[in-house]
Symmetry: C2
Subunit: 216 residues, 2 copies
């Protein structure tokens, strides 16, 4: 029973890691689509999102089967329950990458971003992808120390996001309200994407130690 | 066993309904704080949010105990698993009301909103509260027909949200970029709040019929 549980839990975490990795790839492509006003890449992200949705449903089924057939108890039961919550996080990361791609498509052939903020989004994109890959990694290794570090990686995202707002709020903003609205929403998508990667890290800490880390 | 399950599931749904109702109250107050630039009400929402967080944790524990002690199978097991997902939805609704209150506090003693868009937010607030109360209702009644109707109620929110953007994008927008950024984020908070109420409705449909409703 326990061997089957461990095996199925491993397979389930592989699926979660896969979704997380795909969300990272989607965010990387969506950022490129945004920065280059590249419609083809934006469309690619939008099409490939179906696969992420399918995998999320499969992950839920895997967790459900695990629960139904292995009937885990105590700590194992908590691990599976956290697994359901992780599905929601990684699925949402995919949806946020999709949102970014859709903004790029909506503004095409124009660029959604004024050149002045390109650097911010290039860097937020890089961080988002890095966070997704870290989350994938800890889903596979279940290493609580590595998982706890994801929260620190996110500090850089928060800093960038705050700076971005000072740029927007500056009297010298010359790009009009429409661009400001896009920049505001896009900034929020990257920040939320990062938050969900952090949530995955926190849940893995809980899964492997039984302790919920303090919120910082 | 089955009687105990039904009893505990009822208590759990009561807790979920309670959180949902409190999120509705929080959104109502937060909207008032926003429209009136009322710092005292904003602070109230911020303080009362702790209670919502506590109840969310209690709800998770209730679902967990149910799972551990009653060991539900088949349909009952799916119902409990959906319950965990509902906790996440109603908890997020509370967090979004909190975000609105924080914007009101941040801009105090000024109003965050230009008068031109007050009507939109008064109406989005009204709809958000209505949606939260509908979600609470169906959590308690478990009526799938009523639950399915929440999605239709949300159409009005989507319409308002779209109109709000046309106001923002209009060349005649005279309130500057800072106000546009606030309006953009606030609009998003109301829209997401409504989305989570819809998600609760969809999950109740699933709980009471075993079928996931189509996404519209």
């Amino acid at each position: 029973m326990r061997t089957a549980y461990i095996q199925q839990m491993g397979a389930f975490n592989d699926t979660l890691g896969d979704i997380c990795g795909r969300s990272g790839v989607a965010m990387e492509k969506a950022t490129n689509a945004l920065l280059q006003a590249d419609l083809a890449i934006a469309e690619e992200v939008i099409t490939e999102h179906d696969e992420i949705r399918k995998l999320s449903k499969r992950a839920e089924e895997e967790a459900f089967t695990l629960l139904a057939l292995q009937a885990p108890v105590a700590g194992d039961l908590r691990v599976v329950v956290s697994g359901f919550q992780i599905v929601a996080d990684v699925d949402r990361m995919g949806a946020l990458a999709l949102h970014v791609a859709k903004v790029a498509r909506r503004r095409h052939p124009k660029r959604a971003l004024p050149e002045e903020v390109n650097g911010y989004f290039a860097e937020m994109g890089r961080l988002a992808v890095e966070l997704a890959y870290s989350a994938r990694e800890v889903l596979l290794t279940q290493d609580p120390h590595q998982a706890a570090e994801i929260e620190e990686q996110d500090d850089a995202m928060d800093d960038l996001h705050r700076h971005l707002f000072t740029v927007l709020m500056d009297r010298d903003w010359k790009h009009g309200v429409a661009a400001a609205v896009d920049v505001t929403l896009l900034g929020r998508y990257y920040e939320r994407f990062a938050d969900h990667a952090v949530a995955v890290g926190r849940r893995v800490v809980f899964q492997s130690t039984g302790v919920v880390p303090d919120e910082n």
